[in-house]
């Protein structure tokens, strides 16, 4: 019996502007530890909206969300921020590194925020993650001196720094060329298989999805079985 990391129960979501539109209806599914899951569907089917709800950043929904068997409903904003910090790693389509900081510092930031280890230890772990992804040479460069593929790998290293329960990706390869997409996909695959890292990736790339362990197909705000 595998541990359940993420569980969504009957999630409904409406957009209220300009008229009430139901964008997610009755979403129920769970993700087990170590699973590599892809959520696919056409543009506008609600897959990104779902991801933001699952990531706790969007709190305007009905239903129940459990991360690591703890309900996220009605938690105050600082507590949700803490959950994101500790249990979720993010990789976005656009890379969102802080240009004012070096690569190493970018990776360290969530770790420093969590404050579980002293600064030297966080630095050591950050270098470890960069090593793992083969980009240790970039550690002391400024974030805005990197190429797109390199930035995305730094973002993955940052997502890994606190050993999260789950990594969430919103079209992580959507803005990369074929070669870099391949590199990023291989990293995800390796994380899932070698390190038993749970991954939930939203993508419209059918080829990417087909190579994961499990595909959740969405259409018009519903999960197709």
């Amino acid at each position: 019996m595998a541990d359940i990391i993420l569980e969504a129960r009957n999630i409904n979501k409406y957009f209220h502007d300009p008229v009430d539109v139901k964008v997610l209806s009755d979403i129920t599914f769970s993700v087990n530890k170590g699973e590599f899951v892809a959520v696919t569907g056409k543009s506008g089917c609600g897959k990104s909206t779902l991801l933001y709800i699952l990531s706790t950043m969007d709190t305007d929904y009905e239903g129940e969300l459990l991360i690591d068997n703890i309900s996220m409903v009605n938690k105050p904003e600082p507590a949700l921020a803490r959950v994101r910090n500790e249990k979720i790693g993010f990789v976005f389509q656009f890379h969102y590194l802080l240009n004012e900081f070096s690569v190493l510092h970018n990776v360290m930031l969530p770790g420093l925020k969590l404050n579980r280890y002293p600064e030297q230890e966080v630095e050591h772990r950050a270098i470890e993650k960069l090593n793992m992804l083969g980009i240790e040479k970039l550690a002391h460069k400024k974030a805005n001196q990197l190429s797109g593929g390199e930035k995305q790998r730094v973002a993955i290293a940052r997502a890994l720094i606190n050993d999260p329960c789950i990594i969430m990706g919103d079209e992580p390869t959507g803005n990369l060329d074929k070669k870099n997409s391949e590199i990023v996909f291989d990293i995800f695959k390796r994380l899932a298989e070698e390190y038993q890292q749970t991954l939930l990736i939203v993508t419209h790339d059918q080829e990417f999805a087909s190579r994961t362990h499990r595909i959740i197909q969405m259409e018009d705000g519903k999960i197709l079985l």
Binding site: Y52, R82, F92, Y96, L109, P110, K113, D170
Partner: protein, 417 residues
């Protein structure tokens, strides 16, 4: 907290030019605030010293006035009913203070009193040819008068201490000496109200800065004054008191009046309008200073707002990776406060230097013999107020933008791309 500071630092340094301009805005306004207030306070203090320093806080004397208790009140036979008494006159009661030795003794022991100076006030005619000039003669204790009312500072020629050393000596008001055409070490003829004639030696000239006042003032020692009046030891007409807390002067005046059974006058009643003038001058300079600070506050507000628009993405990613709204708020408040602290500190230093500069400018006026440069106050209170205002205004300027930053919804930013 250390992390928040380091993030704030990086954001600051990334836009160091704008930051510098914002800080310069604060520096400029604090500089102006401090030097303006210092200058204004300096002028106020000078004005104060012109009048207030030479005025006793409480003055005890015997006023010539009709007795409050008429004999008829004392008679048991007329106790009931209302008395109509016409043409009440002041009796020729004694003008000196009764039991002055004991009063002086009691006042010197009083904790609230800084010092007491006894004084004899009399009127005399100075004779020059066929002209008689009326003037006041103040019999003073030179040492006490100096300690309490800076007497020697206003003696522009000659030596004030000779008053005690040389018998039958006098210090004339400068304007009085000019109309009498006397120089130092020369004698003046003087006739008292009782018709006694004396010849006194001029040992100094005194100048208060108010010409009409200088024309009718002269000073001599207590013993010489007693000699002029033909009175014995202990004859004193006035007791001048300087108290520790000037605001308590009216209450003390009432207390002493009751206790020693004399008339008492306090400085507030005497100089009420003067105080109002000082207050309004201070008020104006504070208003100007606060206006400057408000303007610089808007500068900080603008720069932080711009920074937040620019750093939307960074704020979104910080929030996505686990920074709560309050952390983001702290980052921007910290940025605002560091602009305030450094700008304010630089402003205080610059303000001090500017004050030193103003202090060097020559400023001479015949009515103020002791002043040679523009008066500037270095009252620490001004600097404390300046520093506090710089912190408060930058906090307020940073508060709104940082609240806005803390409320940025990361989903909107990340989706919006």
């Amino acid at each position: 907290m250390k992390l928040i500071i380091s993030i704030a630092q990086s954001l600051l340094l990334a836009r160091w030019r704008q930051t510098l301009i914002a800080a310069i805005g604060v520096t400029f306004s604090i500089t102006m605030f401090v030097s303006l207030l210092g200058f204004m306070n300096g002028l106020n203090e000078m004005m104060d010293s012109l009048f207030l320093n030479r005025t006793p806080h409480v003055r005890l004397y015997n006023e010539v006035k009709p007795s409050a208790i008429q004999p008829v009140y004392l008679s048991p036979a007329f106790r009931s009913g209302h008395h109509f008494i016409h043409s009440v006159k002041a009796s020729s009661s004694r003008s000196d203070i009764y039991n002055s030795g004991a009063i002086l003794e009691a006042l010197r022991k009083d904790e609230r009193v800084v010092g007491v100076a006894p004084k004899i006030l009399l009127q005399a005619f100075f004779r020059e040819g066929t002209v008689d000039i009326t003037a006041s003669v103040n019999g003073i204790e030179e040492y006490q008068e100096n300690a309490l009312f800076h007497f020697a500072e206003y003696v522009v020629a000659g030596d004030a201490s000779l008053l005690e050393k040389e018998p039958n000596s006098i210090i004339l008001g400068k304007a009085l000496a000019e109309s009498l055409l006397v120089n130092l070490r020369e004698n003046v003829q003087l006739t008292t109200a009782d018709g006694e004639r004396f010849s006194l030696k001029v040992v100094g000239f005194w100048q208060s800065g108010i010409r009409d006042y200088d024309k009718v003032q002269s000073f001599t020692s207590l013993s010489t004054a007693r000699k002029l009046l033909g009175k014995t030891q202990n004859y004193i007409t006035d007791i001048q008191i300087r108290v520790k807390d000037i605001t308590a002067a009216p209450a003390l005046a009432r207390e002493y009046s009751r206790l020693f059974n004399t008339s008492a006058q306090d400085i507030q009643t005497l100089n009420a309008e003067f105080e109002t003038g000082s207050f309004i001058r201070s008020l104006i300079s504070y208003a100007v200073g606060i206006t400057l600070l408000t303007v610089s506050g808007f500068g900080i507000y603008n720069i932080l707002n711009m920074m937040i628009y620019e750093k939307m993405d960074s704020i979104a990613i910080l929030k996505a990776t686990g920074f709560a709204g309050r952390d983001v708020k702290r980052i921007f408040i910290f940025i605002a406060m560091s602009i305030g602290v450094f700008g304010g500190l630089a402003g205080l230093i610059m303000g001090f230097l500017l004050s030193l500069g103003i202090d060097q400018l020559p400023f001479r006026t015949t009515s103020l013999p002791t002043i040679t440069t523009y008066p500037v106050s270095y009252d620490p209170f001004i600097y404390v107020i300046g520093g506090a205002f710089s912190l408060i205004s930058t906090y307020l300027a940073g508060w709104l933008p940082s609240r806005k930053a803390s409320r940025i919804d990361p989903v909107v930013i990340i989706r919006g791309k």
